[in-house]
């Protein structure tokens, strides 16, 4: 029997070790897996590399982990956010590493990681300071730079509904990075608003097929 529903958040995150690389879904607050992030703070893993669009805002979620000194490196497209105070201070003090990646390149690097592609050539960033040191290539008269795929140990994502096989649906623009991150992590953990019976999700509407998901925690689950 396949049973991916985990009754407690702590159990779902039990094996996240120090030094792990973790995808975090979300674009600003939409799609940010707050339940899992708060549990990760509780769990204690440190020296983390977090890959997410932003570097935390308003003192919640990623901002709490950054503020608690648990993050050694952020890979993101837009760290500057209202009240992203913790990140700004640590960055200026040289206490947190930043890899700045254009947003579309970030999404595609993760997609490539999940699709078994080693990297790809993109025109984005050609001739800019973010392309320094990258391989370049001209293809059919267009200049491209090489970008390497990204994989991670874990993906913490927020979805709307999930079943025990790991199938997921999303709500609104909270979908954002969730579906691609789910494909590129060794272990994807999803927080869902609602766990539903197997068969309750219309196969036509499932966005993330269960094969990409290892663990599901329902909002309001035991800590």
């Amino acid at each position: 029997m396949i049973q991916k529903i985990i009754p407690s958040v702590a159990e779902a995150l039990r094996d996240i070790a120090d030094g792990s690389t973790i995808f975090i879904s979300g674009f600003g607050g939409a799609g940010l897996p707050i339940l899992l992030l708060d549990a990760l703070l509780e769990q204690g893993a440190k020296n983390l590399t977090l890959i997410s669009n932003n570097a935390g805002a308003s003192g919640v979620g990623i901002a709490k982990l950054v503020g608690a000194g648990r993050v050694k490196k952020m890979v993101c497209s837009f760290p500057r956010q209202p009240e992203s105070g913790a990140f700004d201070e640590l960055y200026r003090a040289g206490k947190i590493e930043l890899e700045l990646v254009p947003q579309g390149t970030l999404a595609e690097r993760i997609r490539a990681g999940g699709a078994g592609i080693g990297g790809f050539y993109t025109p984005t960033g050609f001739g800019t300071e973010l392309a320094k040191g990258e391989d370049t290539r001209e293809i059919d008269g267009v200049n491209y730079i090489f970008e390497k795929a990204i994989k991670a140990d874990y993906a913490l994502i927020k979805a709307d509904k999930g079943d025990r096989w790991g199938n997921l649906t999303y709500h609104g623009t909270a979908r954002n990075f969730g579906p691609v991150m789910a494909t590129a992590a060794r272990c994807t953990i999803a927080q869902v608003r609602e766990v539903v019976e197997l068969g309750a999700l219309d196969p036509e509407n499932i966005v993330t097929p269960g094969i990409f998901v290892k663990r599901i925690v329902q909002m309001g689950a035991a800590s």
């Binding site: 760290p79 960055y91 579309g104 984005t124 800019t128 609104g172 954002n176 969730g178």
Partner: protein
């Protein structure tokens, strides 16, 4: 020095309305964070224009108010928005397939500088204390079929933002098609910068002088 006090500068609303004249029926359009977002207030009702938001929404409606507010439905600036009938949602990689793959007709971005070759600098200044943040600007600048820039013509200290070569860090090379400012509309062409129109009270010669780069007069 040209006295600009006699000139009726275009307001943000005026520039937005001018840009709307160049957005055809059926176009898919991405509006950058900041000033370009004002354009959504002036879209004509007799044209169907699909607004794209890079966080995975095509067919974005006006800002949400009251009961319409859903924290999971936001625009690129993280404001709550509505979805039009016919809107569609997708994940981030597909959203940037729309952008990078050339499926978006027009993108409108703000800028610090635009060069005579159409290079754009809009993502960071040279301030070493600023936290660098690029977002989707580099993908948008060269992915959309046409890139429009909406900006003030001059910096606060009166220098032209149209330049021979960008001195701020580049966002993309050879990407801009047309620049809409508070003083003029200027197309980037293989022959150089073509002044399409400019505000009342300003002569072409004066526009040329304050722009500080060679302009071609489309009206002569």
């Amino acid at each position: 020095m040209i006295d600009l006090s006699k000139v009726k500068k275009r307001s943000t609303a005026d520039i937005a309305k001018r840009i709307v004249q160049d957005i055809p029926d059926g176009a898919s359009v991405n509006l950058g964070i900041g000033q370009p977002m004002a354009i959504s207030n002036y879209l004509p009702h007799d044209r169907e224009i699909l607004l794209h938001s890079e966080n995975g929404l095509l067919g974005m409606g006006p800002l949400a108010t009251g009961d319409q507010i859903d924290p999971d439905i936001v625009n690129a600036g993280k404001q709550s928005v509505t979805m039009l009938s016919g809107a569609s949602l997708c994940h981030h990689a597909d959203s940037f397939v729309m952008i990078r793959g050339g499926h978006i007709d027009i993108c409108v971005l703000g800028a610090f500088q635009v060069s005579i070759k159409g290079d754009i600098a809009n993502w960071r200044t040279s301030d070493p204390n600023a936290i660098p943040a690029v977002g989707g600007a580099m993908d948008l600048a060269l992915g959309a079929k046409k890139l429009f820039v909406m900006m003030e013509h001059l910096t606060k200290s009166g220098e032209s933002k149209l330049v021979q070569e960008c001195t701020y860090p580049l966002t993309a090379l050879d990407a801009v098609n047309c620049v809409y400012t508070d003083l003029a509309t200027i197309a980037v062409t293989p022959q150089g910068l073509l002044a399409i129109d400019w505000v009342e009270g300003l002569s072409f010669e004066e526009l040329q002088e304050i722009s500080n780069v060679a302009l071609i007069n489309s009206q002569s």
